[in-house]
């Protein structure tokens, strides 16, 4: 009798563990939502790696964009690696096509850090529909979104 009880309890535990694993896997599929509650929502929809290491990008992205800005404006250098357009094309939300708005890649972090950016008073926050050479989508988050 005791043995049967043990088997039933073990089976229930196994099913529960399986369910938990499935839920976790599904959560992971909504690609890289870093935190819930405190902290910004950072959603990564495309590619595995940004143009520089993540830590470097977090600290220095504004410097890269500023440097590229002057080179493009005054010298006509239009490489894509550190270009603002490339940031938007890759980081735009697949549904809204924007880096702004609620949970937008730029706005969520900047709102959390309370740092106002004025890029989007002139630049569009939408990705270029004709953009090429951006990283492919990852996970299942972007099903039905335009490539």
């Amino acid at each position: 009798m005791g043995k049967i009880k043990q088997i039933v309890v073990g089976g229930v535990a196994l099913v529960a563990a399986g369910l938990l694993a499935v839920t976790l896997a599904q959560a992971a599929n909504v690609s890289g939502v870093k935190s819930k509650g405190i902290g910004p929502t950072v959603k990564i929809h495309r590619g595995e790696q940004c143009v520089e290491p993540t830590g470097d990008m977090r600290r220095n992205h504004m410097k890269y964009i500023l440097h590229q800005r002057d080179k493009t404006m005054h010298q006509g250098i239009r490489t894509t690696k550190h270009s603002f357009k490339n940031c938007v094309d890759c980081h735009a939300d697949p549904i809204t096509n924007s880096v702004q708005g609620q949970d937008g890649f730029c706005s969520s972090c900047h709102e959390y850090a309370s740092v106002k950016i004025d890029c989007f008073s002139c630049h569009t926050d939408k990705r270029d529909k004709n953009a090429v050479e951006v990283a492919p989508f990852k996970g299942t988050a972007a099903k039905g979104a335009q490539p």
């Binding site: 404006m73 010298q75 006509g76 250098i77 002139c122 630049h123 569009t124 939408k126 270029d128 953009a131």
Partner: protein
């Protein structure tokens, strides 16, 4: 089929000439195309020639420009921005009417650059005059200095800009000679529209290259700068005024 010696040499010569000429045109293009990481140099000077004899009562260049750069108005002509406009000239004595497109003339010595207090109005090494809106404070000195009324001030909030043409309230803007297209080896939108939907009145090219279409066109007949008395050496030239 048999060829005699004379025929063989004739056909062979034509074939060799064709093979030599066709790719050489292409090779010159390739040699001159700038790679994206290369800075612009003063070895080139971009220019535009507008033949007023061919320019008719059509708006293709204006529509194409404003479509390409996402320039739109609010139905307020006095303050709406315009990068290019059609101007009508009438000889009061004879009643003869001409029409021409007018935009930034991309001067070699631009008055807008002279007066800019922040360096936002500047001339690129290849002769394209631009506004760096990152440092423009919207003082509008350049608008007053420009003898061609080529610049506009953005009075109202703008949304849905084109990715290649950022525009924003509180800055001055004007024709960029479609710099984003020129940098990737294309011609400005107005020129493309004029040759496709208009009257083939516009020629774009490198004024410093003697073999470019525009240089040959300029060398083959008369042309003028608008307000030549100001000695600005404009990059946009007109024929037939």
């Amino acid at each position: 089929m048999s060829l005699n010696r004379r025929e063989f040499i004739g056909i062979g010569g034509a074939a060799v000439a064709g093979m030599a000429l066709a790719p050489s045109l292409r090779l010159i293009d390739l040699a001159q195309a700038r790679s994206p990481e290369e800075a612009v140099t003063s070895l080139k000077r971009w220019g535009l020639l507008i033949d007023i004899n061919k320019c008719q009562d059509c708006n293709a260049c204006v529509t194409a420009c404003h479509e390409e750069n996402g320039v739109y108005g609010h139905g307020r002509p006095a303050s709406d921005p315009q990068w290019i406009r059609k101007v009508t000239l009438k000889d009061k004595l004879t009643g003869y009417v001409q029409t021409l497109p007018l935009m930034c003339q991309h001067c070699e010595s631009p008055p807008c650059v002279d007066v800019c207090p922040t360096g936002a109005s500047f001339k690129r090494a290849d002769g394209i005059v631009l506004v760096d809106k990152h440092i423009c404070i919207g003082c509008r000195y350049c608008m007053m200095a420009c003898p061609y009324k080529a610049r506009s001030f953005v009075h109202e909030d703008i949304t849905d800009q084109k990715p290649h043409a950022p525009r924003g309230k509180g800055t001055v803007e004007s024709c960029t000679l479609c710099v984003h297209r020129v940098d990737t080896g294309n011609i400005p939108a107005c020129v493309e529209a004029c040759s496709k939907d208009g009257n083939q009145a516009m020629v774009f090219g490198d004024l410093k290259d003697r073999n470019s279409d525009i240089s040959k066109y300029l060398a083959s007949g008369p042309s003028i700068q608008l307000r030549p008395d100001l000695n600005l050496n404009t990059g946009v030239r007109y024929r037939g005024i």
